[in-house]
């Protein structure tokens, strides 16, 4: 079977961080943070997958079927909520920042130095 999911997760993390480092717009940076976070979902679910397994939801499957790991799925759910809320909060900060600084370019923010 493939080993692809792991390097893909690593790639998503790094490309997201690259976006954060080079971003010229804070809204874009927040988007990049969301991208970075998707690496954790991919890794979590890849770790919990089992060949030939099915979702551990027994409404329409016999209770003795081979299933994938339910725990990582629960963790990924939590993780998604965390991601959405952090995005919301950071965007709210960006909105206010734009009002008070007049810019959303991180290069132009220079109130806090040294």
């Amino acid at each position: 079977m493939t080993v692809l999911p792991y390097p893909v997760a690593g790639w998503i993390f790094l490309i997201g961080v690259y976006g954060l480092v080079t971003s010229r717009n804070l809204i874009h940076a927040v988007g990049c943070l969301a991208v970075t976070q998707s690496s954790t979902y991919v890794l979590l679910l890849a770790v919990g997958y089992r060949d030939g397994g099915t979702a551990p939801v027994f409404a329409d499957a016999p209770t003795d079927s081979r299933v994938v790991d339910p725990v990582v799925q629960a963790l990924a759910l939590t993780d998604i909520v965390v991601g959405a809320t952090v995005t919301a909060l950071l965007l709210a900060l960006v909105v206010q920042l734009r009002k008070r600084h007049g810019t959303v370019d991180p290069d132009a923010l220079s109130e806090l130095k040294g």
């Binding site: 099915t54 939801v57 329409d60 079927s65």
Partner: protein
């Protein structure tokens, strides 16, 4: 659980079709991007329906159900903000041909019952969503 490779292979078709759509969304004109957004939810809905059948899990259809309501919602939101709602024959025909070509065989395979009603509902929502958000008329925007 065993899977049906035929259905899964069929699911590959809309999935692969998403590749050029991604290109369009990333690098197209605003109009192209909106068409791409519209196509994405349509193709994803179809892929999900086929995959659910391939995995023998009717409960996976719920994902397609949510796509069928949130997809057009997303398109309309973008249309409102970008102020374009492009007329796209591509979307229209993909919906009018692709959805029945997918849903009807699925219905036959499923047989009558609650699952079939759900399938038909999802198909109807997908078609309605795509057609309304891609039809000609108006001034090209959400607002009249």
């Amino acid at each position: 659980m065993s899977t049906s490779d035929g259905w899964l292979a069929a699911a590959l078709v809309p999935l692969l079709a998403l590749v050029p759509v991604l290109w369009r969304i990333a690098y197209g004109s605003p109009k192209d991007r909106l068409i791409g957004q519209n196509l994405t939810s349509l193709l994803a809905g179809l892929a999900l329906l086929l995959a659910a059948r391939g995995f023998h899990r009717t409960s996976y259809n719920d994902v397609a159900l949510v796509v069928s309501v949130l997809g057009p919602t997303g398109t309309l939101i973008y249309a409102r903000f970008l102020d374009v709602l492009p007329d796209s024959r591509l979307v229209r025909w993909t919906a009018l041909v692709g959805v029945p070509a997918t849903v009807l065989p699925l219905c036959v395979a499923t047989g009558p019952g609650r699952a079939m009603v759900k399938l038909l509902l999802i198909g109807a929502m997908l078609i309605a969503g795509s057609v309304v958000t891609s039809a000609s008329g108006g001034k090209g925007g959400v607002t009249a």
